[in-house]
């Protein structure tokens, strides 16, 4: 419906990450510490991000979209712990286990995170909807290349042009 791509970009070049982490805790900590240092989130962001992911997982099974796609997750937490509206892309070189958002009893191996910073749930278009639209409308071959990329620059420029 009104999910028009926002005019200001949801992505920043300096908050695109390629992570070597092998656990959810490690990748969350590395990214959250950097986001805090850069002033995008509050000090309590990491703690709340972890608690929320434990209770309400955010893994998304993309095999139902295309069997070749890797799974993704959309970690996020309450608006009060973030200072702006952003999507933070994180490529995981080592797949990490997340539980399925719509069926928390199911575990998924995830290799890309779209961390959502949303300080304004009511405003504009829905960020999660935009991420799903991006996944659904990007040609399969291009998306597969994107998900395999381990270059922050390549990830950033692809998202800038295709999201």
């Amino acid at each position: 419906m009104s999910d028009k791509v926002a005019e200001t970009s949801l992505f920043d070049r300096d908050t695109v990450y390629v992570s070597e982490a092998t656990s959810r805790a490690d990748v969350f900590k590395a990214v959250a510490d950097d986001l805090y240092k850069k002033g995008h989130v509050t000090e309590d962001f990491l703690k709340n991000l972890n608690e929320r992911e434990d209770k309400y997982p955010t893994g998304i099974d993309l095999s139902v979209v295309s069997p070749e796609y890797p799974n993704v997750a959309i970690p996020h937490t309450e608006a009060e712990f973030v200072k702006e509206r952003k999507v933070v892309p994180i490529k995981l070189k080592n797949p990490i286990s997340f539980n399925n958002m719509i069926d928390p009893s199911q575990k998924l191996e995830v290799s890309f995170l779209f961390m959502i910073l949303n300080n304004d749930p009511e405003g504009q278009s829905n960020v999660l909807a935009q991420i799903m639209d991006f996944i659904n409308k990007t040609p399969r071959n291009q998306l597969l290349t994107f998900f395999k990329s381990t270059s922050e620059d390549a990830i950033y420029s692809f998202l800038q042009s295709k999201f």
């Binding site: 419906m1 309400y56 955010t58 998304i60 069926d103 928390p104 949303n118 009511e122 829905n126 799903m132």
Partner: protein
């Protein structure tokens, strides 16, 4: 106006997407529907008051009995018509069967 309620962990992304999608689709199908999006931790008999259909996303464990029809809405989050249509159909069936208005 038919009142529905959905809930997710943070109350920012998933539940709002369900709200927007269900309100838009049901309007298209000719029903006056209002969906409230809240955090799962705020679900209780009080917030369920007046709710005619509950639209959970992620099979939440609740400490109370939900006494209204429950329809799993998580598939809507994929924003693929083929995945969302069965959920909308179930909502419409429930509205008709229970004569909700």
């Amino acid at each position: 106006m038919i009142k529905m309620l959905t809930a997710c962990g943070a109350g920012v992304n998933s539940s709002h997407q369900i709200k927007d999608a269900v309100e838009a689709e049901m309007k298209k199908r000719g029903y006056q529907v209002s969906v409230e999006a809240i955090q799962i931790k705020d679900l209780n008999p009080e917030t369920m008051k007046g709710v005619q259909i509950f639209l959970p996303i992620n099979k939440p464990d609740l400490s109370f009995d939900v006494t209204v029809p429950e329809i799993d809405a998580g598939a809507i989050l994929y924003r693929m018509p083929a995945m969302a249509a069965p959920v909308y159909d179930k909502i419409e069936d429930t509205i008709k069967k229970n004569h909700l208005s």
